[in-house]
């Protein structure tokens, strides 16, 4: 059972930035640079540089020295910040792009799903798209025929299967597309962040489907930002950072390494160098931090306790009305809510030049458990001009300690929803019989 079906050794991928990364070269550029190249090279040789080095203008390694094995039946999550190389790794393993160095050996039929609905054509009907998309994903026609009814049932769009897809809602398109993908039966399944689509109920259905894929002894590589999904689906997680493997081990270890590493988004961000700080002509960001009631910087907070988000900024020009604000996102990227400064002392009041620190307090029993990402910004008003807007400036974890005085009460299982407020509940009780029924009988008597 435990023999490697994916062997990755020293995989590396480099991209050129600068000249060659310009989106589309024109032939003229290429010709002129080709004509100039010998002279450039000669010039560098004269300066005593190696010819090899002359070629390396601006190179970044999207992936470097990545080695790992995956055994048959393993479900491996791949996590990391944006730009850490996750997608590049999946693209290489799916053979979409070639590595620059190293090699990978894959035993078995690979199905890769880097995007839901690749190749869907708006003018074609749902039925036609199932076949087209299936073929694109590498299914045989007989295979699609066999699974067609199952796919349609899974997608829940039976009624519209012969309608052109352009008349579908985006949710319906996604469901149909995922239904096709979910019925791909490769020995090795490679999945990129595709579960971040559709409504929550359908997402769960897809997660369950993927889980069953894993249980059938198939090997799955799964990239996601959705940490609960990663920990639920994968026993092993590889944490990538800057194109290298930072951590490779049990899911919870790698996930917490990711969340706690200073490499990811942390609970405090400082911009000591004004030149590098985000900002506009009027205002500049100095610091953002997550604080507890005690005023300490914390990266996790009890679900029942309030949490403060603090922003320090400078005003560089007088007589502007400033509006500091935050946006809160969960790990699916869903925006939970926004909040802007309502401090009566400064509301609609021009601010003199100087240093400011504002803080917003979110009450306990508001956020759901999981990671929360905070975007921070300042807008000058009338006219409304953003001075800066820092995405994922800070992040923190909301921890549910399973105490019965939270909104969870005595329920120990998964709870849905992007927020988890604590409400008051009340119950009326009548000892013998059904209250509503009685009152309706009374009503009938009146009639």
């Amino acid at each position: 059972m435990s023999k490697p079906v994916i062997q990755v050794e020293n995989l590396g991928k480099q991209f050129h930035i600068g000249g060659t990364q310009q989106q589309y070269e024109t032939l003229r550029d290429k010709v002129s640079s080709a004509l100039a190249a010998p002279f450039r090279r000669a010039g560098k040789l004269l300066k005593g540089q190696a010819t090899g080095a002359a070629e390396l203008d601006e190179i970044i390694w999207a992936l470097k020295n990545v080695s790992f094995n995956v055994n048959q039946g393993e479900v491996v999550g791949i996590i990391g910040r944006n730009g850490a190389g996750k997608s590049t790794l999946l693209k290489i393993l799916s053979r979409i792009t070639e590595p620059t160095t190293g090699e990978a050996l894959i035993l078995g039929r690979v199905g890769s799903l880097l995007e839901v609905g690749t190749g869907f054509h708006h003018e074609l009907t749902g039925r036609e798209n199932v076949f087209l998309n299936g073929a694109i994903l590498g299914m045989k026609r007989t295979e699609i025929n066999r699974k067609f009814d199952e796919i349609v049932a899974f997608s829940e769009v039976e009624k519209f299967i012969d309608t052109p897809v352009k008349h579908y809602s985006s949710g319906m398109q996604m469901r149909l597309a995922f239904a096709v993908a979910a019925h791909l039966e490769p020995e090795i399944l490679i999945v990129d962040e595709v579960l971040a689509v559709g409504d929550a109920r359908f997402q769960r259905k897809c997660l369950n489907k993927m889980q069953s894929v894993g249980q059938e002894g198939r090997t799955v590589l799964f990239v996601s930002h959705n940490m609960p999904a990663v920990t639920r689906l994968c026993e092993r997680v590889i944490l990538l950072d800057d194109g290298q493997i930072l951590e490779d081990g049990p899911a919870h270890l790698a996930v917490s390494a990711y969340l706690n590493s200073g490499r990811g988004v942390s609970a405090e961000r400082l911009w000591p160098n004004p030149k590098k700080a985000p900002g506009g002509p009027v205002s500049r960001l100095c610091a953002v931090r997550v604080i507890s009631e005690a005023g300490q910087v914390v990266d996790s907070i009890d679900i029942r306790h309030p949490v403060g988000i603090e922003m320090e900024f400078e005003t560089l020009e007088p007589d502007h009305i400033l509006l500091p604000h935050f946006h809160f996102h969960n790990e699916d990227g869903t925006c939970l809510f926004g909040a802007h400064d309502l401090d009566p002392n400064w509301r609609m009041r021009p601010r003199p030049v100087g240093w400011y620190k504002c803080v917003v307090w979110l009450p306990g029993n508001l956020l759901a458990e999981g990671a929360i990402f905070v975007n921070a910004g300042v807008i000058t008003m009338n006219p409304d001009i953003p001075q800066f807007y820092e995405r994922e400036a800070v992040a923190f974890q909301v921890i549910d300690t399973m105490e019965p005085d939270s909104a969870r009460g005595d329920w120990k299982k998964n709870m849905n929803g992007v927020v988890r407020p604590l409400f008051e509940w009340a119950t009326d009780y009548l000892p013998n019989g059904n209250g509503t029924l009685k009152s309706s009988k009374k009503l009938k008597a009146h009639l």
Binding site: Q7, E9, T101, G108, L124, L132
Partner: protein
């Protein structure tokens, strides 16, 4: 983790011991220099080729008022214009055949060639989302673009049959060669399109070049005039343009022109084959950069 001993000998990776259990073994590594054409893999993806062709056919005339009539309008109206200006006004000779059918017989394969070239040259860039997200032999894309034009060809060809009836022209027995000439047009179109589509990924100039190429090529091909204007050996040399062989072949097979195209067709076929094979190699060589650049 791969142990030190294994890393020391990459061949162990390349030839795993448990090969028999897995039908698919994929070794991913940087390719160098010229790569093989991998016909076997292309064959494995024949269903995708089928579906992409089918999609192109289905979608081509969606949301147009005249629909598939466009397949006929294009060569037919060109024929009318040619007949007026070249046939009537300029009195261009037409090998003793009524000028309209003389030019239309050439325009049918020409339109197939030109549209195929046009569609296929832009096909990779138009399928950028596919190329970036799914693996398949990229050759499938331009192949499908050219092959889907066969439907248009058939429609235009039906009009040609009607015209032959109208002019009372009975095709010669050489008509059995017609599929070969169609194949020749397909190979030429594909051969050039493979070069252009691969270049188009990196240099978007190609998109603007194709209409020029097609326009010049139209006049470099004996469509408005007969190749019999040239004397041998220039006529055979002229067939270096493979479309010369196609067009004269069509006339020979259908209209019975006595342009005896034997040597011309051999020359045209050879050139078309060179274009196709070189195009495929060039395409395969550039293929690895497509997903990064497109």
């Amino acid at each position: 983790m791969i142990s030190k001993e294994q890393t020391g000998q990459p061949p162990t990776l390349a030839s795993p011991p448990e090969t028999s259990e897995h039908s698919h073994i994929t070794l991913i590594k940087p390719s160098q220099g010229w790569v093989s054409l991998q016909f076997r893999e292309l064959w494995e993806y024949r269903e995708l080729l089928f579906f992409l062709t089918w999609r192109d056919i289905k979608v081509r005339y969606k949301q147009t008022v005249l629909g598939a009539a466009w397949a006929i309008i294009q060569p037919f109206f060109t024929m009318i214009v040619f007949s007026l200006f070249f046939g009537r006004l300029a009195q261009v000779p037409s090998d003793g055949i009524p000028y309209p059918i003389f030019s239309y017989t050439a325009l049918v394969p020409w339109t197939f060639f030109a549209n195929g070239l046009n569609q296929a040259s832009n096909s990779l860039v138009n399928s950028a989302n596919l190329v970036k997200k799914v693996y398949f032999p990229r050759l499938v894309v331009p192949f499908a673009a050219v092959i889907s034009g066969v439907v248009d060809f058939v429609l235009a060809f039906i009009v040609l049959i009607v015209m032959m009836l109208f002019y009372g022209i009975v095709p010669t027995a050489n008509i059995i060669w017609l599929p070969y000439f169609l194949l020749l047009a397909l190979c030429t179109s594909l051969g050039v399109a493979l070069w252009l589509s691969a270049m188009n990924v990196q240099f978007r100039d190609v998109r603007y070049t194709v209409p020029f190429i097609v326009q010049f090529w139209l006049f470099a091909t004996p469509i408005a005039y007969p190749s019999s204007l040239l004397s041998e050996p220039w006529r055979t040399l002229y067939a270096i343009n493979p479309m010369v062989g196609v067009v004269e072949g069509f006339r020979w097979a259908l209209l019975g022109t006595d342009t005896a195209p034997g040597p011309m067709i051999i020359v045209s076929s050879a050139v078309a084959l060179v274009l196709l094979v070189s195009g495929m190699y060039y395409f395969r060589r550039m293929e690895k950069t497509f997903a990064d650049v497109v």
